[in-house]
């Protein structure tokens, strides 16, 4: 077993701590069990399971730190890993940014573990994939997809008495369905903590409908268009923004959160007032661990409210430099949405483009957060409130910061990957060239 209980983990870590001679010592203990199945050309291709555990010891003498890790848990091995981390600390240069370890903290009870997800096995996975393959075969289409589930634990104990433990599960599924001629392609994907929510059949039907609907796409001229981004497409772009919420990069003048003349844009209205984004470890649809990697408690954090930047992330070191409270990095963001469905948003659009998802997104200019990438797996022209016809894929060059200032409407938010995102209607979205890719 690679998933160790809270009590057992604590007992092993306490034993490790008893060997420590350092000024400060932190022990991190983690393990995972992952299983997956992959398919393509309407047939299973590869599948496997991996299991591993790891225990890491960080020892500090003053500001000299050494880290060593092991995956054997007899007494001799546990003592060896402590000694080795201490030896490494002794030969390491001083780390000027080293922060003393935290004392005991209070954490909310985490909701990241689901027993049914942890119990998934090769048979269950094959069965779920079988449903997806049947959809494609029955419709004369071709499916490729991937189903993966993982269970993990993560624990931390330090010489000041801080102890934290979390157990989590995840299951994720994605499928691409194409027509045999290669002229149409559709995609759907979902991730959950609870496997009961995963419906490979419904998602495969959704991808199949897009494959048929996107066939025989017409080319239209690149340029600026009103777009409706489905939640997946929106998350593809919005997820690139949160690195910029690091206060240090902003203070140093090297992010889009940097202010002309010095300082950060904290407190400024940087986006349309409809934009509110937060993270919450106890959100039932998108939970995460209630403690951060450095032992700080994770709490609900509002990053942007009505378009105003409300929080930046401060490491403990940078917070001390700036005389502010530390704030763990933005994680699993939830963007508040509206009430409309995508269908209703299409109805209210005279002319525009519906985007299923984007692909190969890369930063072009970190200063403005200009991104480039392409539409993929279902792009459609909207005319007079209806989908008129499928169109060929476009390359875009657009900044999500600019995009969130051109925001017309938000629809009903849903979980996509590790974000909760609404569909969004954006005016003047910049497409710069056409692609023949399907």
């Amino acid at each position: 077993m690679s998933i160790i209980s809270k009590e057992e983990a604590q007992a092993i870590m306490k034993k490790v701590l008893s060997y420590s001679k350092a000024d400060e010592c932190t022990i991190n203990f983690s393990g995972s069990e992952d299983g997956n199945i992959r398919y393509a050309r309407n047939s299973v291709s590869t599948a496997g399971e991996q299991r591993q555990t790891s225990l890491g010891v960080s020892s500090a003498f003053g500001k000299k730190v050494g880290i060593a890790t092991i995956n054997e848990y007899d007494d001799a091995s546990l003592e060896k890993v402590v000694r080795r981390s201490e030896e490494l600390a002794n030969i390491s240069p001083e780390s000027p940014e080293y922060m003393p370890v935290l004392g005991p903290q209070t954490y909310a009870e985490s909701i990241t573990f689901n027993a049914a997800t942890a119990a998934l096995n090769p048979d269950n996975r094959a069965e779920s994939v079988g449903k997806s393959l049947k959809v494609a075969k029955d419709a004369g289409l071709e499916a490729a997809g991937f189903l993966e589930n993982s269970t993990g634990f993560n624990a931390m104990l330090n010489s000041k008495g801080l102890f934290a433990y979390n157990k989590s599960t995840d299951v994720s599924f994605s499928v691409t369905i194409r027509n045999k001629e290669g002229t149409g392609s559709g995609y759907a994907s979902k991730s959950y903590n609870d496997t009961a929510k995963m419906d490979t059949l419904a998602l495969s039907r959704q991808a199949a409908a897009k494959a048929n609907g996107s066939a025989a796409a017409k080319a239209i001229e690149p340029g600026k268009y009103t777009v409706i981004l489905e939640p997946l497409a929106a998350s593809d772009l919005i997820s690139t923004m949160f690195g910029g919420f690091d206060a240090r990069s902003a203070d140093e003048g090297r992010s889009y959160m940097s202010k002309k003349g010095g300082g950060t844009r904290l407190g400024e209205k940087l986006f349309d007032e409809k934009v509110t984004m937060y993270s919450d470890p106890l959100n039932p649809d998108l939970p995460f661990s209630t403690f951060a990697g450095d032992g700080q408690p994770q709490k609900k954090t509002v990053w942007v409210e009505n378009g105003v930047v409300k929080k930046l992330a401060y490491s403990r070191y940078w917070a001390q430099q700036k005389g502010v409270e530390p704030q763990p990095s933005a994680n699993r963001i939830i963007m508040e949405g509206g009430k409309s469905s995508i269908e209703e948003m299409i109805k209210g659009t005279e002319k525009g483009i519906l985007v299923t998802r984007f692909w190969y997104i890369r930063f072009v200019d970190p200063q403005t957060l200009l991104l480039t990438g392409l539409t993929r797996d279902g792009t459609f022209y909207i005319e007079n409130g209806k989908i008129a016809f499928p169109i060929k894929n476009f390359r875009f060059n657009e900044s999500p910061v600019i995009m969130l200032n051109n925001l017309e409407e938000l629809g009903k938010a849903e979980r996509v990957g590790n974000l909760i995102m609404p569909p969004m209607k954006i005016r003047d979205f910049t497409f710069t060239s056409l692609s023949d890719a399907v």
Binding site: A40, S43, G130, Y360, A437
Partner: protein, 527 residues
């Protein structure tokens, strides 16, 4: 696709990393797995025992931020049972755990066989018996004292900071893969592979205007030892900036980078339009990687990557026609896993096939792909091309790109002579932003340094440059390739593919090349 630097494995002492695992012990463990799988009904089994060592030395400005040695050691067992693949991996290497893992791999194969449309068909492969291969390095970088490496990076940072940079991050990233492969074909292959990647990032901030510029190192990740950091003049090419071949002067490049990042702040913003592009190998490797390397991967062509990386425009009918005009007649692109100093160089691939060289594009025509054992029969081959790789013992091996390189021009031609003939052009050095569609038609690339060429002369630096093109149109616009004297390798440690995602290291060689009439856009925006 490339991913950010992943940190994997457990951390260990340097001394420990220098002691390889005994080959006899690895053979014994492999035999336990082979026998256990066979007894459970596997008709084919291969075992990979991998010890993957990484060392990172990470600095920021005047500080060493992190020194990490990691080791990841374990075994992956791949089987065919009931005609289907199954895979399981473990880091518990006692006989009992190995046998259980082999049984799990067979169980997974049998569960999956009900979803098969046709059984796996492997190209024949002879067993090589007990053989070994070692990368021909001169100096094992893991043996160089940590202090020497940290001091080098701090002097690199100092060179940038004292020449105008505001911030400097530098990293030395070392890899040693000690891989053991055994299969029921009768091979027991022990290999020792080394890679090195020194890299830095200079940032120059103009607080008044709120603008900043960056410049990344012009180094390449290489399949070399520490000798890559011992540059001598014969490894240097004096162009508008100094370029490097088999030896890299990191301090000199940092100094140049700092000055260039200052110059970039006031450089001319490009006027969009058509330009003739002169692309240095430090830039062109990435265009080759994306627009030729990926679309000629046979698994993409067949649809195995449809759900993630995508498929390919280079469909089998184009190859079968023997006249698909991928590029101009000058364009000859070859695959290999044998070039000395390249990231892909290895004796045998991860399914026990001896590595070799073959042509992909010949005189502009698509002539071949990249294949592994279970794909070879699809393109009429009776042996694999040796393109199988897994990034860890815990990952299943699959088709990965070998080194894919552009052959140098046959006529004597230097980059300087090439530039003399350009009326309106841009000389691009270093790789920057990159993006390409899922079938590899439409791409966009940036760079590190852009120089305007007017009437045969470089007239100054430009910025905000990116070019967009269609792969076939772009390679057909190739009108000149410099000769072999200019041939250099670029490459990546982190080519991403597969689900679950895996990375692979690959090199791409080329000489400076010219492409006529390419569409250039301006990437400047205002917030």
């Amino acid at each position: 696709m490339f991913q950010s630097i992943p940190v994997f494995g457990r951390e260990i002492s340097i001394e420990e990393s220098l002691t390889p695992v005994d080959t006899a012990l690895k053979k014994k463990m492999a035999d336990v797995a082979l026998n256990a799988a066979r007894s459970r009904g596997a008709t084919y089994t291969d075992v990979r025992i991998g010890r993957y060592l990484n060392q990172y030395v990470v600095t920021r400005d005047k500080n060493v931020e992190n020194i990490v040695n990691t080791e990841s050691y374990g075994m992956g067992i791949r089987v065919i049972a009931n005609g289907s693949w199954g895979y399981a991996a473990t880091d518990k290497l006692d006989d009992d755990s190995i046998a259980k893992t082999a049984a799990l791999a067979v169980q997974i194969a049998k569960e999956n066989s009900r979803l098969l449309t046709e059984p796996v068909k492997l190209a024949p492969q002879k067993g090589y018996g007990e053989v070994s291969w070692k990368a021909p390095i001169q100096k094992n970088a893991f043996e160089v004292p940590i202090k020497e490496k940290a001091d080098l990076l701090l002097s690199v940072n100092n060179a940038a900071l004292s020449n105008g940079a505001n911030y400097m991050n530098s990293i030395l990233f070392l890899v040693n893969e000690q891989k053991y492969f055994a299969s029921t074909d009768g091979s027991y292959i022990d290999q020792d592979i080394h890679r090195i990647w020194p890299v830095f990032f200079v940032t120059k901030v103009d607080e008044k205007s709120g603008k900043f510029e960056t410049r990344q190192s012009l180094s390449a990740p290489m399949g070399m030892g520490y000798e890559y950091l011992q540059s001598n003049p014969k490894d240097q090419i004096n162009s508008v900036t100094t370029l490097y071949n088999r030896g890299y002067d990191m301090v000199a490049d940092a100094k140049a980078a700092a000055k260039q990042s200052v110059e970039k702040l006031t450089a001319k913003s490009v006027e969009p339009g058509k330009y003739d592009l002169i692309l240095d190998p430090s830039h062109l490797w990435l265009t080759i990687h994306e627009s030729c390397g990926h679309p000629t991967e046979l698994d993409r062509v067949l649809g195995y990557e449809a759900n993630y990386a995508g498929t390919s425009f280079l469909t089998l009918d184009k190859w079968e026609s023997k006249k698909f005009n991928y590029g101009s007649k000058l364009v000859n692109i070859f695959a290999d896993k044998t070039q000395v100093g390249s990231l892909g160089a290895v004796g045998y691939d991860d399914e026990g096939v001896k590595c070799k060289e073959w042509n992909i594009i010949q005189d502009g025509i698509l002539v071949n792909y990249q294949a592994i054992r279970d794909q070879a029969h699809i393109i009429g081959l009776n042996e694999s091309q040796g393109c199988c790789y897994a990034d860890n013992w815990s990952s299943v091996q699959f088709q990965r790109m070998p080194n894919i390189s552009l052959k140098p021009g046959k006529q004597k031609l230097s980059p300087d002579d090439m530039i003399k003939n350009v009326e309106k052009g841009i000389y691009i050095i270093g790789d920057g932003s990159f993006s390409i569609d899922q079938q590899r038609y439409n791409f966009q690339f940036g760079g590190q340094l852009f120089y305007e060429i007017k009437n045969g002369k470089i007239v100054g630096m430009m910025k905000d440059v990116a070019y967009q093109a269609n792969t076939q149109e772009f390679w057909n616009a190739c009108t000149a390739i410099a000769d072999e004297k200019d041939y250099r390798l670029g490459g990546s440690y982190f080519d991403g593919k597969g689900q679950p995602g895996q990375v692979s290291a690959v090199s791409h060689g080329s000489s400076t090349s010219r492409f006529n009439g390419v569409n250039v856009i301006n990437t400047a925006r205002k917030l």
